[in-house]
Amino acid sequence: MIEFRNISKVYKMGEVEFVALKGVFIAVQKGGFISIMGPSGSGKSTLMNIIGCLDTPTEGSYYLDGENVSGLTFDQLSTIRNRKVGFVFQNFNLLPYASAYENIELPMLFNGKKNTERKRRVNELLEMVGLLPWARHRPTEMSGGQQQRVAIARALAMDPPIILADEPTGNLDSKSGHEIMDIFSRLWKEGRTILMVTHDPAIAAFSQSTIRLLDGAVQENGAAH
């Protein structure tokens, strides 16, 4: 489902070049639950960004569902992000002035879904993450765990097959963290593909296997838990 063929990413800052990824090959099957580990600066975020079509590789090809997406324009990639990928971030990245309801609704606004359909889907998701009574509350009125659950509901709004989570439990206490991981496990069992960056081996233990990165290269691929 996700296939990297010799992907490299080089950032240029003036004269200085920074190689974030060099010659990465990875393949993730549909329905996989992969954790990505490695020290900071090892290229985890870049890898996630390319998988999530937020960034494009400097070299190499990226096949998503058999389609080479390396050469697509930003707006074409926007459509792919909207339909196929749901992002969950460490700092939640919710719109602070919008309610939980509006935050979850957001991805559907860029897809021309009907009002009634959006309403049904948002309520369904609020119920799933156990926040139906919080629909009208703003993120600032919620705990970290609740905010992350809103973020997961938002990631699921368009029912994407892939969930990308960048240290989803990094800002949470362990109890909330486990609740979040329970939701991810459930999503995985429903058949979604999940890729998750983490530092925490206890969190990585929820996944099927781990990709370890060091200095932009894959050091270890597929260590099963």
Partner: protein, 408 residues
């Protein structure tokens, strides 16, 4: 989507009330200024034209003068003398003359009972009424029989009638002009007029038949005469024909401008219209610049807003917004702010115009008008400024790198 947009916008405007007020005030003030300047501009122009037309519409005033050129052996410096008989022939023979009236003018002592005034008396012919707009509000103007029979009938301006009769009905009453009794046959309506030639404004004058005037005061030649051209657009040709005809008849060169001094009102009106159009354009430009400054304010505020909302933009891009979605969002927001400001300015201007005591000021500034043209021009300027001030911030917003934005 549209609903969500307005929800977003109103939330945004309410969130920072001071900033909203400052942003809106620039546009509101600009619109207010454009509308008021244009409304007053048109009002003043119309009023000036109306007062000016108190003298008559598209008329030609002719004052016989002195020759300054020799003509067929005749020396220069000869006075040009026009008799009423000559004018009758002018009316028949000069092409382009619809009608005309001779005019005799002097200051005379006018008395009714114990009221005594020294006012202008004009000896005129029947067509004077339509040429110079001396419309009776009560009674009638001088008629053909008055002229033929040299009747001692007079027609009074509204002001002189008021001053002499103090509210009494003057029609049918007898006034003494230089000790000679005259019967008042009519009183003129009130009219706006900002100047006159040789004597007081029409509202202060007494009008008598020219035949009576000649007999009583011993005049032989007219002081001036007024021509109404058949076609005001051809007034120049009419004047040329008039000079040719009278030059031949009275012995002066048709090129001799001082033999006949001619005041062509239709030409003056054309210049006047050009002047006021230019005046309005000038006012419009000044107003537009004020509005433009308001637009620059909106643009710079929107730039700040884009900076502040870079994370929001990043989030939207991450969940599938296209760059053009972001572009439209900020472009539409800038335009909405401008339209709200514009609507407020329009409303304030309309309110001011409605509350202004125009009756008291009308003589000077006329009635300021919110005509459709002013509205259309303002909306066009607003749209142009909305486009200009929305595009730059919107493009910057759309160019946001989501990866950088999400890390903030």
């Amino acid at each position: 989507m549209i609903l969500a947009f307005f929800r977003n916008l109103s939330r945004d405007l309410v969130r920072q009330p001071l900033r909203t007020i400052l942003t809106l005030s620039g546009v509101t003030w600009g619109t207010f200024a454009v509308i008021l300047l244009l409304a007053f501009g048109t009002g003043i122009g119309k009023q000036q034209m109306k007062q000016f037309r108190g003298l008559g519409q598209s008329i030609i005033l002719v004052f016989p003068g002195q020759t300054t050129m020799t003509y067929n052996g005749l020396p220069k410096g000869r006075p040009v003398q026009v008799t009423p008989d000559e004018l009758r022939r002018v009316k028949e023979r000069v092409p382009g003359v619809r009608t005309l009236s001779p005019e005799f003018i002097s200051s005379r002592n006018i008395r009714y009972g114990r009221e005594q005034l020294l006012n202008t008396v004009r000896g005129v012919d029947v067509p004077f009424e339509s040429i110079r707009n001396t419309i009776p509000g009560h009674g009638r103007f001088i008629n053909d029989i008055d002229v033929q029979e040299r009747r001692r009938n007079c027609f009074l301006g509204a002001t002189i009638a008021k001053n002499l009769f103090k509210g009494l009905d003057p029609v049918g009453q007898r006034v003494m002009i230089e000790g000679v009794p005259f019967t008042v046959v009519g009183v003129m309506i009130e009219k706006d007029q900002n100047s006159n030639y040789n004597g007081q404004r029409d509202t202060h004058c007494a009008f008598i038949p020219w035949t009576t005037y000649m007999t009583l005061y011993g005049e032989k030649y007219v002081q001036n005469f007024i021509v109404q051209p058949s076609d005001p657009a051809l007034s120049k040709q009419t004047i040329a024909a008039l000079r040719n005809y009278l030059g031949e008849r009275l012995g002066f060169n048709a090129q001799d401008k001082d033999a006949l001094f001619v005041w062509d009102f239709s030409d003056f009106e054309r210049q006047f219209n050009v002047f006021f159009t230019a005046f309005n354009i000038f006012l419009g430009i000044i107003g537009s610049f004020t509005l433009l400054v308001g637009g620059v304010g909106v643009a710079s505020i929107m730039m700040v807003v884009v900076e502040e909302r870079v994370r929001e933009i990043g989030i939207k891009l991450a969940v599938g917004a296209k760059r053009r979605d972001i572009l439209w969002q900020f472009f539409a927001e800038a335009n909405c702010i401008i339209l709200i400001g514009g609507a407020m300015g329009f409303f304030l201007a309309a309110l001011l115009l409605a509350l202004l005591p125009v009756e008291k000021l009308q003589e000077y500034i006329g009635i300021p008008k919110l005509n459709p043209l002013v509205g259309i021009v303002t909306v066009l300027i607003l749209v142009a400024i909305g486009t200009l001030s929305g595009l730059t911030p919107a493009r910057r917003a759309a160019a946001t790198d989501p990866i950088v934005a999400l890390r903030k």
